[in-house]
């Protein structure tokens, strides 16, 4: 099986060279070296673990959403059509669409689960963006340049998690109280969770993690073997959303 795959990659690589496509060759070559790892080799790889066991004990808690949306000037717009959300909660059946059966235990059935951008290791949104307005940092975070976004919404079609929102109209009138420390957006651009890139790159924790007084959200660097996040991953069975799509989501859920 593996041999066949390697042979295929070799042939594909040769074909890619013929087409003069260097990035493709690099991608295929790096995929071939790491046979057991699904993610790319990085010096830093930020990720998140959500302990839904804790989260479900506080069903009415919206602290993470409120902290994130206030600090990032995310407008509050009612109605499914134009709403903008970076982190929110949706039903178990909607968040884990491939985990459904008729006998789901009551503890999970219809219960709210936190969902946000998965900061995929192989993000389709970055792949499709025609202007590199959505891009990935070396630390794995998928973030955006709002001034470059042309609003084509190709990324929204590409994201298999529905994690992206579009500013269908001017968002500013719908921001209750503006946070002067973070920019607001204009109409006509896409936005999403940025893993608090403005904070984690200077050593601070993301807003959602800080706001969660129950400690259900833990972020950290996956490359550090002794980090809290690695400890959680080592001790608990976790699931990810739609892992079969090859996006390598980096938000892990303890169920």
């Amino acid at each position: 099986m593996d041999k066949g795959r390697r042979k295929f990659l070799k042939v594909a690589g040769a074909a890619a060279i013929l087409l003069g496509s260097k990035p493709a060759v690099n991608a295929i070559a790096s995929g071939g070296e790491e046979e057991h790892s699904t993610a790319k080799k990085r010096d830093v790889r930020y990720a998140m673990v959500i302990d839904t066991r804790i989260c479900l004990q506080h069903e009415d808690c919206h602290d993470c959403e409120n902290a994130c949306h206030f600090n990032h000037n995310v407008p509050k717009i009612d109605g499914k059509k134009e709403e903008i959300k970076w982190i929110w909660r949706d039903k178990y059946e909607n968040v884990f669409t491939d985990q459904q059966h008729d006998y789901t235990i009551e503890r999970l059935k219809g219960k709210p689960f936190v969902t946000l951008c998965n900061h995929c290791d192989d993000p389709p949104c970055v792949r499709v963006c025609p202007t590199q307005a959505t891009y990935q940092l070396d630390n794995g975070i998928v973030t955006m340049d709002m001034h470059r976004c042309i609003g084509c919404r190709f990324c929204m079609a590409a994201c298999p998690y529905g994690s992206r929102s579009f500013n269908w109209s001017d968002p500013r009138p719908n921001i209750e109280k503006q946070n002067p420390d973070y920019p607001t957006r204009t109409r006509g651009v896409v936005e999403k969770c940025n893993f608090c890139v403005e904070r984690v790159t200077i050593g601070k924790k993301p807003h959602c993690e800080l706001a969660c007084k129950h400690g259900a959200i833990v972020t950290g660097d996956l490359t550090k073997k002794d980090s809290a996040i690695r400890k959680l991953l080592a001790e608990n069975q976790v699931i990810r959303r739609k892992p079969t799509l090859g996006t390598n989501p980096e938000v892990y859920y303890i169920i």
């Binding site: 059946e93 929204m156 079609a157």
Partner: protein
């Protein structure tokens, strides 16, 4: 040559005025949309592309008509297509401009459109789509114009044009393939995630494009002294028939794979389109109407005696064009968004603003085709009178 478009019969002038009126209304509404944002359309967080992008997708296909006349004429020396190649090319010019406009009006920040060129991103299919569309527009405009002006001057076309003519053939295939790749490479959108999408695009393109060309040529014959030739039209009719059969065949292959494999993701969109899903069924009547048109159109086109009658042929071409329009200009894009990534079924209804802007882009296409055809007819009539 251009002066030929500046004067014409009373009907010609009225037609131009009607088109300009629609265009004017659309431009006004586009300004309104630009100021207010895309919230004035029916699109939303879950159905992020609507009538604009689906028209773009459909019209990329219509632009194919050019290659269906260029290929037999230049590669197989099929003489009957000689006099009509320019009409195929000019139709492609009009439709490709429409495609570009539909993308433009769909953008949240249309003023930033040049970012696609300022920051070229080779891993984005959108970048390549822009490249192939602009290239196809240029090729057809240059080839059509040079060929026509040689005819006008009664000289042989310059030799340098030949490589461009040959290039335009694979280029026509590329615009459909790359447009299909916009969709067929997205994980998690099962209705689009299929290798047959590009062949399906090509098949429906080679049906809808020549079908429209036949209708246009019949109009040209009616309003001018130029006769496109009965045999040329009949050959186009055969192309339409075979391409439409392939198109329906490819669609049925999708149905087989989805339902025999029984994989829910693959079945959902088809269920939504043809029977409804979670009680939502806005597109069901459209899709069945399209299916009836497609099968009915093919059935009657198969009889040589029926398609030889140009009155019936015009109707059948309209029927097939309509079937392709519903399938690709409506069902394909909207169906791809069902269910949403979080498995909801959300429906979309275009707004008046959206429909009017779309109509005015069609009017711009019609205006371009009218003006270019007027010039072409003028040149062709000159030769008849000489």
């Amino acid at each position: 040559m251009i002066e030929k478009a500046l004067s014409g019969s009373r009907n010609y002038q009225i037609w131009i005025v009607i088109l300009l009126t629609i265009i004017g209304a659309g431009v006004g509404l586009f300004v309104y949309q630009t100021i207010e944002g895309l919230g004035v359309t029916g699109m939303g967080r879950d159905i992020t592309w609507g009538i604009y992008i689906s028209q773009f997708t459909f019209l990329v296909g219509v632009a194919a008509a050019a290659v269906m006349v260029v290929l037999p004429y230049y590669l197989h020396n099929y003489k009957q297509f000689g006099p009509i190649t320019v009409f195929g090319e000019f139709m492609a010019v009009g439709t490709v401009v429409m495609c570009q406009l539909f993308i433009f009006v769909d953008m949240g920040q249309p003023m930033r459109v040049l970012n696609v060129i300022l920051h070229p991103t080779f891993n984005s299919v959108m970048f390549w789509d822009m490249t192939v569309l602009c290239g196809y527009l240029g090729l057809n405009l240059v080839i059509g114009w040079i060929m026509l002006s040689s005819e006008h001057k009664d000289t042989e076309p310059p030799k340098w044009i030949k490589p461009f003519v040959y290039l335009s053939i694979p280029w026509a295939v590329s615009i459909h393939t790359v447009t299909a790749f916009l969709y067929s490479g997205l994980p998690g959108r099962h209705y689009w995630l299929t290798a047959i999408l590009a062949p399906r695009f090509l098949a429906s393109a080679f049906a809808a494009g020549p079908a429209l060309l036949i209708i246009l040529l019949l109009i040209v014959r009616k309003v001018s002294k130029f006769d496109p030739g009965k045999e040329a039209i009949q050959t186009l009719a055969k192309i339409v028939t075979y391409a439409m059969i392939l198109n329906v065949f490819f669609m049925l292959l999708e149905v087989f794979t989805a339902f025999y494999s029984n994989i829910p993701g693959h079945m959902h969109a088809l269920e939504y389109l043809f029977v409804g899903l979670h009680g939502k069924s806005a597109l069901v009547p459209f899709m069945w109407f399209a299916a009836i048109l497609a099968f009915g159109g093919i059935f009657f086109m198969l009889f040589p005696s029926i398609r030889a009658n140009e009155k019936y042929l015009a109707i059948l071409c309209g029927v097939i064009f309509m079937a392709c329009w519903i399938d690709k200009g409506l069902g394909l894009i909207l169906g791809g968004f069902v269910p949403t990534p979080l498995h909801d079924v959300v429906e979309y209804t275009p707004t008046f603003v959206e429909l009017m802007i779309s109509l005015s882009i069609y009017a711009i296409g019609a205006l371009i085709v009218t003006l270019l055809y007027k010039i072409a007819i003028g040149v062709k009539e000159e030769r008849i009178y000489d």
